[in-house]
């Protein structure tokens, strides 16, 4: 067997040069055998046993799964494979390109695997949307793979069954023309799946297909259809936009399916000198989103009034005749937009109506943005079919003989008015394919375990049409299958295995001679060449815009996608649950976010349970006072309050779906909100939200900056920082340092999750979080400034600052924390006795203590996610950010082994830096004046937090700039 090593990956994915396709490996019997031994079909029993752990540990040639303790010479065995696995070098990680699908769009990924188990996810630099970065969802998905609560076997009527039985059943059951057969799935932007689906539809022409995503893009798609008369995909090029108006759009947060928006936006926030002009962002929104936090002007507008504001704007840009806008800001923003014709973007949020989207398209066209900042392609996904409402009706009418649900959980996520759970009872047979035994599975005749994307073959398109092939990194842990496989099985598709389906689809498109080469190339690169959709220039149709009817009655409720659990599907992912929300800083919960004034009028305080009701539909939600929220409107994240879920997510938070109906999936008015008199404990990772006038996040307007470029350095006046001693100097060899650009950070939390995955950071749970024992090595501090009603927000990622005069080091009695010659503040866990003195003496409070044995209850299967290059810390020791010293050491060793004396700039990326879509974090050698980090630190915006303590931190910040429109008095009206 010969393996083809397809050369070296270029440029930015530094240091990881051997990533090859898994396909060759997967085809070799030896590898299969090895994988089977590692992860047998029947892995579940073994996964919980000790032998599993021992085996893994030994297979990994003893890299540590275990903690710090070492006994005296226990007999330890090494079990080398009987037959070598080609090109697998024990101890060296392998990298494979794959892609994750979420909400109908692909995130191109590069997955690191140690000894056959994926441990870490990075963005694929060659993928047009990822470009090397990665979201928190994708980062955490590797934990989802090992979730011991995943569905582990086929079940029929609640009893254990198997795939063979299902296959027999399917063969008998699916006959005829398919009348009465309904299929329900989420969005699938998968070309090969579409082929299978096409085949199925041809075979069963009577079958009906429903695509439903609780957090879908329906209004966006329909809006485009309204505007252009055809389905198109809109692409915003934020990198080219000078002025942006976001109308209830959290495009830097949960409203963008990909990372391009953040990247493009952040690049326009890169300011090297007073000559650079950053973009200007106006945000009109009801909920204080992360996009709102980045705004130069933020207008608090109820979601229900956004369309009206858009109409005023349309008039103001001359699209339609109209009066002077009622809202003063609209006029000013319109002027600013008009002054930047072709260099501006107006974008509406996902929750807004199709009509509003259509109107915004017209505005962009009027502003000359089409073809400049706003572009179009054909949609990546073939949409179509019936709506969920139609399915509910059919169910209710008893017309559904067979319902096949592929990966969706409609019982939990369907709009409340459809009474889906009740209607489902009326279906003849329900077949549910899912990663977990969820609410829908519990009500289905058949439940089939779904393969996680990291254990499945498949393909998926990015929004711009670029296709990626998904390749597995591991055999299915629990014998799961993909949706394509299931559909192929019941539809009698020529290929049954996901691999054959995907490969067959693609190779059929290539000339036979090139097929093999192209396929390998696609696997290697992570993208299929030439699949990017061509740009089109659709024309807007004249619209009958009748003016928006604004409902103003009652309290408005807006529903938003949880940055943690998405629509509920990640509820069992502990990393995501523990991730503090960027704005509220709440973890392990959602809440009814309301403005201080609204809370006052309702008479509620933080944690008070309120009953939000509209007619018979009601939900009990804990209140959380959120400055910046528009008055009279409540925002609530979806996806919490799962009832049929794994041990992590069961019962976490409160379910808001019961008050969300088909006619108001984004927002709706007319709710009544009542105090219940009971309260609930909400846990916020940050208890204080003001900087107390301290110069922590330093910011200025662009004008102020031009007037005083070094304003950040001038923010603190203090005497000369002197020491009693002649301090040690660090000026030889590599001197590591970091620069974080506060102007770019959008608070997306990807860095926090990336760090968690890279550094084996434990999850502590809500109770311990409440006690103040979070373990994240990097956190994103969020401060409010300004008034409580109309605050501004600022983000500041804080990890260990690696002070040269580190106060923590001085006080450690056992020298467990000391400095390396390269300026790293090191923490030797195995030396630590746990006095916590270092943590007390850390002005940045970035040290984390293992108050309990956090890993005690971690399932054996979940332990497979551990990065073997980082020690798993035991209880009683302190830990903290190491600047990813394992990556530094590995790179240095490799460079030496290759005979290089120096490491290239950018060859070492810290985990937080690598994943950051905003490119806000730069790490490198300060001793090299030409390194990126050195150049950034020379910028006039550079400052060190708490420099007045003379601790000489190695991490410094680039001060934030705001670019307000001088015509609009500071923020909001």
């Amino acid at each position: 067997m010969s393996l083809i090593q397809i050369g070296q990956a270029g440029g930015t994915l530094t240091g990881r040069r051997y990533w090859r396709s898994l396909e060759e490996l997967a085809d070799t019997p030896n590898f299969r055998e090895w994988l089977h031994r590692e992860f047998p079909e029947n892995a579940s029993e073994m996964l919980e046993s000790r032998s599993r752990r021992t085996l893994l540990k030994l297979m990994a040639a003893s890299i540590g799964l275990a903690g710090l303790t070492a006994c005296r010479r226990p007999v330890e065995k090494i079990l080398p494979a009987s037959r070598g696995v080609e090109d697998y070098i024990p101890g060296n990680p392998l990298y494979y390109a794959t892609a994750m699908e979420l909400g109908g769009a692909a995130a191109g990924l590069m997955v690191e695997a140690h000894d056959g188990r994926p441990t870490k996810i990075e963005g694929n630099p060659k993928h047009p949307d990822s470009r090397g970065a990665c979201s928190a969802y994708a980062q955490a998905s590797v934990l989802g793979l090992y979730d011991p609560d995943r569905s582990q076997h086929v079940a029929r009527g609640g009893r254990k069954s198997d795939w063979e039985e299902f296959a027999r059943f399917a063969k008998e059951h699916f006959t005829g023309d398919g009348k009465g057969v309904w299929l329900l799935s989420g969005y699938f932007a998968s070309p090969s799946f579409e082929a299978v689906r096409g085949h199925f539809s041809r075979k069963f022409p009577g079958a009906r297909w429903v695509e439903y995503e609780a957090l879908g893009r329906e209004s966006i798609e329909r809006g485009a259809e309204l505007a252009f008369g055809e389905r198109v995909e809109t692409h915003y090029d934020f990198e080219k936009a000078d002025v942006i108006l976001a109308l209830d759009s959290d495009f830097l947060g949960v409203d963008s399916p990909g990372l391009n928006a953040v990247r493009g936006f952040a690049r326009r926030r890169h300011v090297e000198s007073v000559k650079d002009a950053p973009n200007r962002l106006y945000v009109a929104e009801s909920r204080f989103s992360t996009t709102g936090a980045m705004a130069d002007h933020r207008f608090r507008v109820r979601s229900g009034e956004i369309a009206e504001a858009a109409a005023e704007l349309a008039a103001a840009v001359g699209l339609r005749p109209g009066n002077e806008p009622r809202r003063a800001w609209v006029a000013e923003v319109a002027k600013d937009l008009a002054a930047h014709r072709g260099r501006s973007i107006v974008i509406a949020g996902r929750g807004q109506s199709a009509e509003a989207h259509a109107l915004v398209h017209a505005i962009n066209e009027a502003l000359g943005n089409f073809g400049q900042t706003v572009n179009f392609t054909a949609p990546a996904r073939q949409a179509g079919g019936a709506s969920l409402g139609e399915l509910a009706e059919a169910l209710s009418a008893g017309e559904v003989k067979t319902l096949v649900i592929l990966g969706s959980n409609p019982v939990f996520t369907a709009p409340a008015d459809l009474n889906f759970a009740a209607n489902l009872e009326k279906a003849g047979v329900t077949i549910h394919l899912g990663l977990e035994v969820d609410e829908t599975a519990a009500r289905s005749e058949w439940h089939l375990p779904q393969a996680h994307y990291l254990e499945a073959w498949g393909d998926v398109r990015a929004l711009d049409g670029t296709a990626s092939v998904q390749q597995p990194l591991i055999e299915p842990l629990y014998g799961g299958r993909t949706a394509a496989e299931v559909l192929a099985l019941i539809g009698g598709y020529p290929h049954e295995r996901a691999y054959d389906i995907a490969r067959g689809f693609w190779t059929a498109r290539w000339p036979a001679a090139e097929a093999e080469r192209n396929w390998r190339r696609a696997l290697h690169e992570g993208v299929v060449e030439g699949t990017r959709a061509a740009r089109i220039t659709p024309k807007t149709r004249p619209q009958a815009w009748s003016g928006a009817e604004v409902e103003r009655g009652g309290i408005e409720v807006t529903f938003y996608q949880s940055p943690a659990v998405y629509d509920g599907r990640f509820a069992n992912n502990a990393w995501l649950q523990e991730l503090p929300d960027a704005m509220t800083k709440l973890a392990w919960d959602n809440a009814a976010l309301m403005s201080p004034a609204t809370a006052k009028s309702l008479g509620v305080a933080n944690g008070d349970l309120v009953l939000v009701a509209k007619g018979a539909r009601q939900a009990e939600l804990p209140a959380w006072i959120m400055p910046g929220q528009v008055d009279g409107s409540i925002a609530v994240a979806l996806g919490y309050g799962r009832t049929e879920c794994g041990r992590v997510g069961q019962g976490v938070g409160h379910n808001a779906y019961p008050i969300r109906t088909s006619d108001g999936p984004g927002f709706a008015s007319g709710y009544e909100v009542r105090k219940t008199g009971r309260s609930y404990s909400l846990v916020s990772a940050q208890e204080h939200h003001s900087m107390e006038g301290r110069p922590l996040v330093r910011e200025a307007t662009v004008d102020e900056y031009r007037h005083d470029p070094e304003f950040a350095k001038h923010a603190v006046h203090h005497g000369p920082a002197e020491s009693l001693y002649k301090n040690l100097t660090f000026d030889e060899g590599y001197q590591w340092g970091m620069a974080i650009d506060l102007n770019r950070c959008v608070g997306c939390n990807a860095c926090v999750t990336a760090c968690q995955a890279e550094n084996n950071i434990p999850v502590v749970g809500k109770q311990q979080l409440e006690r103040g024992r979070e373990m994240h090595w990097i956190r994103v501090d969020r401060y409010f400034t300004g008034s409580e009603a109309a605050p501004e927000a600022a983000f500041q990622p804080v990890a260990c600052q690696h002070c040269e005069n580190a106060p923590c080091e001085n006080v450690c009695p056992v020298a467990a924390t000391a400095h390396s010659s390269e300026g790293l503040n090191e923490m030797a866990y195995n030396r630590c006795v746990g006095t916590r003195y270092c943590s007390n003496n850390c002005p940045y409070k970035v040290r984390r203590f293992n108050f309990l044995e956090w890993h005690k209850d971690v399932a054996e299967s979940t332990r497979m996610v551990f990065n073997p290059d980082v020690t798993v810390r035991m209880r009683g020791v302190m830990e903290k950010c190491t600047y990813c010293v394992q990556r530094i050491q590995e790179t240095k060793i490799r460079a030496k082994a290759e005979g290089r004396r120096a490491i290239r700039d950018g060859e070492i990326l810290t985990a937080c830096q690598q994943t950051c879509p905003a490119e806000a974090i730069v790490f490198g050698n300060l001793n090299d004046p030409n390194s990126r980090v050195s150049r950034l630190k020379k910028l006039d915006r550079d400052y060190a937090m708490l420099a007045e303590l003379n601790v000489k931190p190695r991490t410094s910040y680039l001060a934030r700039l705001r670019n307000p429109n001088p015509e609009i008095s500071r923020i909001d009206g």
Binding site: E692, R694, V798, N810, V833, G834, T835, R836, L852, R875
Partner: protein, 459 residues
């Protein structure tokens, strides 16, 4: 040199021992306490305190088995009740040596009635104190790493720049020296006990413990010299210990900790709390054992005066602390003090002010200085106040330091509470055992200050 325990007419008024006692009376009065069945109150007391000592054992076992997480400590409050209790006990441990050493050097003869018990109290308080730094570590089984032992495996040493290392040396030295001081002081009395012993076992035990002391003039010659040197060494030692404990805080960068006034402030506070504890215990001891003639009202009044004086120093230190914070112009420092009086833990500092600043002022009035119930109440309140002083310094400073994003709140757990209660139990248990089995008053020293007996009378 050997004139320290001069046996001349003592021109003191009032007398240090009341009721025309003879030498033999003194011996009898003191030794009898250990020779006959203790009063019922003793049994009740030891049953209660012993139970709490066992609770301490249980809590520590639970702690070691489960982790520091059983306490309420968190980020940012890395130290809370653990170190508060430590400083509290170390502080209490200061009175004994102070009475023994400093009052000795200052020729304060009234010390002789109380020094033995006070020294014992010191040792037991330091034992209680030592528990906390040991068990507050995340991995107490690695605590031996805190000592510079040769190690062939690691070739690693300690960081002697860490105030915690200074603590290790200071507290262990203090304990060792106090123990030696106490024991040296006990030797002549142990010999007395040996010579009075009625049973062979008592004879053997006291015979061994007294090391063969026979009161020879040569013995006394070296003994007095040694005692003087130990007193001379203990005096700076006792001052250094709490200074070094204060360095744990003063040497850090934490606002509210990083203060130059801490060493004298801590020492004054330690004497303050130590004397309060001595008063509390002495009141109970003289009552239970009916030795009011040895522990006279004059003794108590003297101690009340010390309490008043140190209380004033402590109050002044509080004022200076606030002034320094204000005058420094350092916003972080200023904030801490505003936060102390008006923040979430304001109740703690106001408790402290009430107990430490206002209550002791009552001792300006002789009425209170000579009223046993008043003394008892005030001395207990002072120790409550002193516990809160340490709580304020530690928790209130830590819970809100530099970055508001990392501010937090500390809530104790039941383990915190029971561990502290258990340490009080251990302390009292040890003290009760001491009262039961060892001479609680330094007989040989009291005899030295006895008012001239007409003629020593013997049966």
């Amino acid at each position: 040199m050997a004139d320290l325990a001069i046996r001349q007419p003592i021109p003191l008024d009032p007398p240090l021992v009341e009721g025309n006692r003879t030498y033999a009376d003194i011996t009898n009065d003191v030794a009898r306490l250990t020779e006959r069945k203790p009063p019922r109150a003793w049994y009740i007391a030891i049953a209660i305190s012993g139970t709490f000592a066992l609770i301490l054992l249980g809590m520590l076992t639970h702690l070691v088995a489960t982790g520091i997480g059983v306490w309420g400590n968190n980020q940012p409050v890395g130290w809370a009740w653990d170190i508060t209790d430590f400083v509290f006990w170390v502080g209490i441990g200061h009175a004994g040596t102070l009475i023994s050493a400093i009052l000795f050097l200052f020729r304060q003869r009234w010390r002789t009635s109380i020094n033995r018990a006070a020294e014992a109290m010191t040792i037991f308080a330091v034992i209680c104190a030592g528990i906390f730094p040991l068990f507050h570590t995340g991995r107490p089984w690695r605590a031996y790493w805190l000592f510079p032992l040769p190690n062939f495996d690691l070739n690693m040493w300690q960081n002697f720049r860490s105030p915690l290392m200074w603590d290790v040396f200071a507290v262990s030295t203090y304990f060792t020296v106090s123990l030696m001081f106490w024991y040296v002081g006990l030797i002549p009395d142990l010999a007395t006990m040996r010579d009075r012993a009625a049973t062979p076992w008592r004879q053997r035990i006291f015979g061994a413990l007294s090391l063969g002391w026979r009161g020879s003039a040569r013995h006394w010659n070296h003994y007095e010299k040694a005692y003087l040197i130990l007193a001379g060494l203990s005096t700076p030692l006792v001052l250094s210990v709490h200074s070094i404990v204060s360095f744990d805080f003063a040497v850090s960068v934490v606002p509210g900790w990083h203060t130059t006034i801490f060493p004298p402030y801590f020492v004054a506070g330690a004497i303050f709390s130590g004397f309060a504890m001595v008063i509390t215990l002495m009141i109970l001891v003289r009552k239970v054992y009916k030795i009011e003639h040895l522990l006279t009202m004059n003794h108590l009044e003297n101690m009340c005066k010390v309490l008043l004086a140190t209380g004033c120093i402590v109050s002044y230190s509080y004022a200076v602390e606030f002034f320094t914070a204000f005058f420094s112009g350092n916003p972080y420092e200023r904030f801490v003090f505003v936060n102390r009086v008006a923040g979430p833990y304001a109740w703690a500092i106001w408790t402290m002010f009430a107990c430490n600043v206002f209550v002791p002022q009552l001792f300006w009035f002789k009425r209170f200085r000579r009223s046993v119930p008043a003394m008892l109440a005030i001395s207990i309140l002072v120790n409550v106040g002193m516990w809160f002083e340490r709580f304020n310094i530690i928790v209130t400073s830590l819970h809100r330091d530099y970055l508001p994003s990392s501010w937090g709140y500390f809530i104790p757990t039941w383990v915190d509470v029971l561990t502290f209660a258990g340490s009080i139990g251990l302390f009292l248990t040890l003290f009760l055992l001491f009262m039961r089995f060892l001479p609680a008053v330094a007989m040989s020293e009291v005899k030295g200050v006895l008012p001239v007996p007409a003629k020593a009378v013997r049966q």
